[in-house]
Symmetry: C2
Amino acid sequence: MPDDQPLPSPLLDRLHALLGPRGLLTDPADLEPHLSDWRNLYRGSTPCVVRPGTVAELAEAVRLCAAAGTPLVPQGGNTSMVGGATPDEGGRQVVVSLARLNRVRDIDPLDMTMTAEAGVVLKAAQDAAAAAGCLFPLSLGAEGTATVGGVLSTNAGGNTTVRYGNARELMLGLEVVLPDGQVWNGLRRLRKDNTGYALRHLFVGAEGTLGFITAAVLRLFPRPRETEVALCAVRDEDAALGLFRRFRDRDEGAVRAFEYMSGEGVGFYARHIEGGTVPLPGHDHYVLVDLASSRPEAGLRALIEAVLEEALEAGEVLDATIGESEAQRHAIWRIREEHPEAQKREGASVKNDVSVPVSKVPELIRRASEACRHLIPGVRPVPFGHLGDGNIHMNLEQPVGMDPAAFLARSHDIMETVNEVVRDLGGSFSAEHGIGRLKTDMMEGWRGGAELELMRRIKAAVDPQGLMNPGKVLP
Amino acid sequence: MPDDQPLPSPLLDRLHALLGPRGLLTDPADLEPHLSDWRNLYRGSTPCVVRPGTVAELAEAVRLCAAAGTPLVPQGGNTSMVGGATPDEGGRQVVVSLARLNRVRDIDPLDMTMTAEAGVVLKAAQDAAAAAGCLFPLSLGAEGTATVGGVLSTNAGGNTTVRYGNARELMLGLEVVLPDGQVWNGLRRLRKDNTGYALRHLFVGAEGTLGFITAAVLRLFPRPRETEVALCAVRDEDAALGLFRRFRDRDEGAVRAFEYMSGEGVGFYARHIEGGTVPLPGHDHYVLVDLASSRPEAGLRALIEAVLEEALEAGEVLDATIGESEAQRHAIWRIREEHPEAQKREGASVKNDVSVPVSKVPELIRRASEACRHLIPGVRPVPFGHLGDGNIHMNLEQPVGMDPAAFLARSHDIMETVNEVVRDLGGSFSAEHGIGRLKTDMMEGWRGGAELELMRRIKAAVDPQGLMNPGKVLP
């Protein structure tokens, strides 16, 4: 196909006839927001953006594109951290936005399930569950923009994985438009269903390379009746882990989030974020504890006070403050939530979304920090994240005064240095952000051999033309 | 291949050289226990039983068989309810027993994980976890015989799914010998790992049709510090569901099991099981409530008393007894556990392992019972099972005095009658027992179209020669 004719015009005509002006964008200004990723790592191009209003429209559009051999890039809220929803630079990949499939089809508080379409924004899904007296627990920084389809396609994790699991574990059934345009209705709301291969688990986490998730049956939970949030200064990384064990041992189900933050990262927050005051300044290691329970009279206040007192006496916790109001709890969470923004304002940083067994988190933080300081003298490790599930954002901030571009030129070296430690500890090079386009070149080294060969065979079996989100996940 | 030469003797020689006498059984007496299933529905034949002592031996044996085009039937504890581990009658399918791969390789109470080989008996896995101060919660009737590899290959459920999930949800990583003899080491003990397709979820529930699960990383949980078990006579099916809601609303995480039993089924227990006394005889509907918590001072006794009192006042519960000792709790559980045996002794019965959304359980029980009574006058519905997760064993006992064989001749009609109701309620025709050989002919009607086509494509991609457990799962 010649470069000056990125899409066969008969296909464009057919898509237009099928979808109408609301469903097919071709004006460059309309395309613009769909061409680059959240982190501005990539900028691609597309002949058009398909925005189907119904699953049937999507299925027909996929059939038309499949017949024309046109590659498709599914896009939800476009908040990928790894360029997973951005078209490449070739100009042939058609972006398919699921934004208009945004109905909550059903909520059942007795079954504790919600059936939501792919384009439902995560926050809207949370709100719909709350309105029905239930909790949809998936929670992450981009929840005001990310969509149900996106968080399932990437198996998003976030803050509450320690208690409720990843997106995968919150999903009972799926509806999928397959690469040939067939619709698979697997919207079963069953806790037990052993009838052949678990196809739904194949599409979750496939990052749109096997088909379009168009709707899902999601699990709901009882709403918390009590919550407690504390910020704790802890002695070191081991003390952070020790504190997690103390809470887990006392009330496993109450630990909704358990987040680590470095003193340096908390300092960036104080320096760069409006109103960024820190209740307990000047420590090297912090932990955010979030407890929640749906039990009436769960006694979380007594629990958190007792555990913190024990840990203070043991010298693991150096100081702690418990949120006394919703506003104070929010203020504590804000320290953690604004970490990415504070790091951005401090200068250039390199992100590493890695995981290790929970027991290895202290060693990961210490060894990866040390190795990076050895690699680039003056580099500032600012690890933070989900200690309770083993997923640490092992980020590195540029040395003070270093040229940001010169620092970013070392990104690959830094990631390799961190990953060497991660590998040695039995961890993963991508914990919750996925592979997208950013990490495809790591797949061979980490998942090569039988595993990658199996993935390729499955890709070929489900998407024989290779039209679904090409260039993502598989190298 | 001629019938009188079921296995090429060069292959048998090579297997013998590889595995030695302990690893290769050919004596008819040794083969015998491997030829028929738990329920005695099928009886097959095999030229030999391969019993590898190491994963490497298994891999090499699979390579040899793949080169010879010899089909393989994986077998764990051989407790399948659907003939999933039995060779066919052709005499060519080699049974591969994982029994000798029975090491618990590792237990980590800090990570809350256990790495166990396929042949570890479920009870032994529970005991190993307990010895390390943890809980491995999967629990089912056959736990003294069923193996880790078997429960994962079939995604077993059992009594505690309402609290801990199916086998699938208790698994973090797998080691698999693929149909070509390659070993995939996916034994990662990570809560978050988004690096390509979730292959582990493809092997779980595939019933050995895609490869051999040889080891798994399993999730552990804190051990309960308090437990309470009660037997309740309830007004009707709706009251049973209402009681479940009351407990879930008060302490969601404490409901470890919530089991329904019909009055008729409980009567069979009293009649046929040695020492089968029932504390509250003469009611039409029963519920077993099992609460557990790892919290110190969880207050489960106060909780169970308060909820039962509420439900008594509301007229939902008619009578109840709380186990006052481990012996009494065990005696209550025995009523439920002996249901299959009591039904067997009463006469011929037809089993239906079905599931519906939890909210539909009362309707399922009523409508399926009614429809079966209409089909066969005098038939005795004896539904029991996991109300809390929507999985009811909707079994039918023969009419008094009817010829058992004549009744069993109606098995297909009965299953169809039950399944018609199940389908109408959005349920599944196989909740926890899987497909095996027994239900392959239902796959087309229930999972036909895009879903079954995808399963077939995946089967062909992973096992192109079609040598893994042929005749199971896929029709």
